[in-house]
């Protein structure tokens, strides 16, 4: 399978977007009013401005989100009022997108106001520095991750994220519906957005508009959630295997042993790929379930193809050929 889809990546988010998305999750509060919401964050890393406060501003990564932990606050408090203001103003010379104070810390009113005049918003959170740093870094990493839209049906089959792809009209949605009917959970149909999370993890989800609607040729649009209930859906899932459906071609070389694993890179993440020829009468749903189960077996250390191969080698070595699985039927005629 060739992926011609375009990879997209956000290069910046506004502070307003960050605040709206993060205020509830990370208990952020505005400390100096609605200023600088159009400032942009372009870097997924955070910065602790301790050294800059102390006056060393060379290499100061001011364009990052500035995190004030106990260290920064205690340092400022150790200075007398005028020096404290001066130290803080050193930072205000730079175009900082926003500042976050952790542990419920606050700054002097005049400092908050001075930042406000410079268009730098200051948020406060009761969370500890390590916690909020982890959350914010994860949130920004997610926002700046590469994304791609894929055409396929994405279903959680026995806990394995299976992405079914193939040409239009080959029957992806029908398989997804069949899987849902058998107790599996639909993540998205037709339009699947995949995002690389961290290194080597690919997450898939639907779009806000479509959620769990799907189209079945001849029926039209269906809402899987209202039809099958909450057990039939989920919002996100790691993409773990790609099953590509293809019209049966006599000359195509399909795997017969499963010894060689085929992989497909999606956003530079290598995902196992199964090319599945289909023809009328073939139960693709059961095969998809089997693919998921086989993936689980492999994941837990059992590879059927390798095991069989090993067994065969043993028999070849022992030179006992063609014997029955049972050497004596005894008196059991059941």
């Amino acid at each position: 399978m060739k992926l011609k889809n375009k990879e997209t990546k956000k290069t910046s988010i506004t502070v307003g977007f960050l605040f709206e998305a993060a205020k509830k999750r990370f208990q952020l509060q505005q400390l100096n009013g609605q200023v600088g919401f159009d400032n942009v964050v372009k870097d997924k890393n955070l910065h602790r401005p301790g050294l800059a406060l102390a006056g060393y501003v060379e290499l100061f990564t001011y364009n990052r989100l500035q995190l004030f932990g106990n260290t920064e606050i205690k340092y400022l408090q150790s200075l007398d009022r005028s020096k404290r203001m001066k130290a803080f103003e050193t930072l205000l010379e730079f175009q900082i997108p926003c500042m976050v104070l952790t542990n419920g810390n606050v700054l002097d009113k005049e400092m908050l106001e001075a930042a406000g005049r410079k268009g730098i918003p200051i948020f406060g959170t009761p969370l500890e520095t390590t916690k909020i740093a982890y959350f914010l870094a994860d949130f920004l990493d997610d926002q700046f991750s590469p994304q791609m839209v894929l055409h396929g049906s994405f279903v959680d089959v026995y806990g394995v994220g299976v992405l079914v792809t193939g040409r239009s009209g080959i029957g992806k949605s029908e398989i997804a519906l069949d899987l849902v009917e058998r107790g599996h959970r639909l993540v998205a149909d037709d339009v699947v957005t995949v995002t690389r999370k961290g290194e080597g993890i690919l997450m898939g989800a639907g779009t806000d508009l479509v959620k769990h609607f799907m189209e079945i040729r001849g029926l039209g649009l269906l809402d899987v959630r209202s039809m099958f209930g909450i057990r039939a859906i989920r919002f996100q899932k790691r993409v773990e295997i790609v099953v590509e459906l293809e019209d049966w071609k006599g000359d195509q070389d399909y795997t017969r042993t499963g010894l060689d694993e085929d992989i497909i890179p999606i956003l530079n993440v290598e995902i196992p790929h199964v090319l599945l020829p289909i023809f009328p009468g073939k139960n693709v749903t059961v095969i998809t379930e089997t693919i998921a189960l086989n993936y689980l077996l492999k994941h837990y250390g059992y590879d059927a193809a390798k095991e069989f191969s090993k067994r065969l080698e043993g028999v070849i070595g022992a030179k006992k050929k063609g014997s029955r699985a049972i050497n004596y039927f005894e008196h059991d005629f059941e």
Binding site: T8, H151, G169, D190, L221
Partner: protein, 88 residues
């Protein structure tokens, strides 16, 4: 491969009915057909995909056709857009 830029002319935008016309027209051809809007690219033969674009009047879309009958597919689909899906 053929690329064509089109604009949504009708008032109601690319709602369900025009989306269905596009998908039906595209499905008559063998060529692959994708539509992109604001960096978001979908399969033009999928009705869910086309509706996901939520394209309003005046927005421009990039159509891409690739395959043995790309010329005919492009003509047929672009014609639909040019006629504003026969809507106001």
């Amino acid at each position: 491969m053929i690329e064509r830029e089109v604009r949504i002319r009708n008032k109601a935008g690319l709602h369900t009915r025009p989306a269905a016309s596009i998908v039906k027209t595209a499905a008559r051809f063998e060529s692959e057909f994708t539509i992109s809007k604001d960096g978001f690219e979908i399969n033009g033969k999928s009705i869910i995909g086309v509706m996901t674009l939520a394209a309003e009047q005046g927005s421009t879309l990039l159509l891409r056709f690739d395959g043995p009958d790309e010329e005919a597919a492009a003509t047929a689909v672009v014609d639909l857009f040019d006629r504003g899906f026969d809507e106001e």
